[in-house]
Symmetry: D2
């Protein structure tokens, strides 16, 4: 049985995330995705410091965001993040909801690949440390 590779993260936008339309500027969603991703990886003890300690950087190589509803100041949102690929790359899917109404706000994914920090070479399969941390069978 595979472990649960998902988590939920809640936040309210900061004032400085708003644009002149009084809604969150679209580029700031990338920050929200990262907050949820770090929370998820933290659970598996493989957040940024542990990645670094393992000798691998994990740059984002692909990112897609579909904006369905705007986010306003004072609104509470929930980001559901889930790891959907880990064999050759780390792909995470995200759904952002209004935390109260449950209305869908955004749908996104990010893809990361492992880069050996000594050789700076991109890895075409993910290193064993990822599988160990996630507790998955490849």
């Amino acid at each position: 049985m595979q472990p649960d590779l998902s988590c939920s993260y809640e936040l309210s936008p900061a004032f400085h995330d708003l644009d002149p339309m009084d809604i969150v500027w679209h580029g700031n969603y990338v920050k929200y995705l990262e907050l949820a991703r770090c929370e998820l990886l933290e659970r598996f003890d493989y957040n940024y410091p542990q990645m670094k300690a393992s000798g691998y950087a994990w740059p984002v190589v692909d990112m897609h965001l579909k904006f369905i509803q705007p986010i306003r100041f004072g609104q509470r949102i929930r980001i559901d993040a889930r790891i959907v690929e880990w064999e050759c790359r780390l792909k995470i899917e995200y759904l952002i909801f209004d935390a109260e109404t449950g209305h869908k706000i955004n749908k996104a994914y990010t893809t990361q690949v492992a880069v050996d920090m000594k050789t700076m070479e991109m890895q075409y399969v993910t290193p064993p440390v990822l599988h160990e941390k996630l507790g998955v069978f490849v």
Copy 2:
């Protein structure tokens, strides 16, 4: 004949755009795309202030970025932006290059839709003002 709907925009990353890997944090590319997009729309006299004056907001509803090479401090990059759809939505494609070597750094697109600022209703065809500004035949 359709007009040339493209432009090039050059920049060097700011120190505050860098992350702990000493490369531009992936979310900051969204800012670079916007700089190129505003430059492109400015040429057609339909940048943010003119959009507002025309009664339409143009939120980004879809965005995809493929990261090919990192960007470093001191590096000069060129962003080629081109409008590829304008009938129902405004879709712009971007290619980011190293300005000196010509190596490809990033490939992206953004899609925007018109929203009537009075009714806040999304428009399923783009309003005439866009075609007039772009000088295109629909």
Copy 3:
């Protein structure tokens, strides 16, 4: 007796707040101050939406930050914010601490003035709505 015009706000820095030194970029502290300030003003029902509804904008006109220690990823920090002037302008003082050790990280203040959103005129005394919200005697 004057009410307690202070609050504490805790956070951990996001990965995207870090710079190439692996510490929080100094400009991002301004965001942390704002988060604490909004939390404080929220308690008095005079956060950004209520300011707007009251007909006044409150731009920051003066800001000073003294950086004592860096902030690192994974570190928990506490921001103590306190309103110290409200008669002619709204001045807030901040102290940032390491939430665990209590070591001082930063000392700052911000000053805001009321601007009448209809006339766009700066107010040389703060409007009555501020005193009412704060529950202070002038």
Copy 4:
């Protein structure tokens, strides 16, 4: 005779620098100061990469900004930056103007100290490399 330790830097704000008041969010001025500072230090061949190569980091330890006028989209601004102290610390003063009218927009300073990147110790006098780069007599 001491060399000219000043420079001017011009820019127009990006759309993503604006807040719901349709003016540049106050925290983004810190980015503008950094752009002018990097331009100034670049002239003396002592920008971020050369600092790093010299074995010193130069964190900002003190920062003050006085906001006089707002900055709007489409406005051209000029930042005059000038090194005013270099013996014990690197202090830079800034004046931001409207590039067309010459009206004053902001007055600021930043103070940086040298930190030896091997020992992580703060230096109470600036290292000789700074004087050599600036071409100043101490």
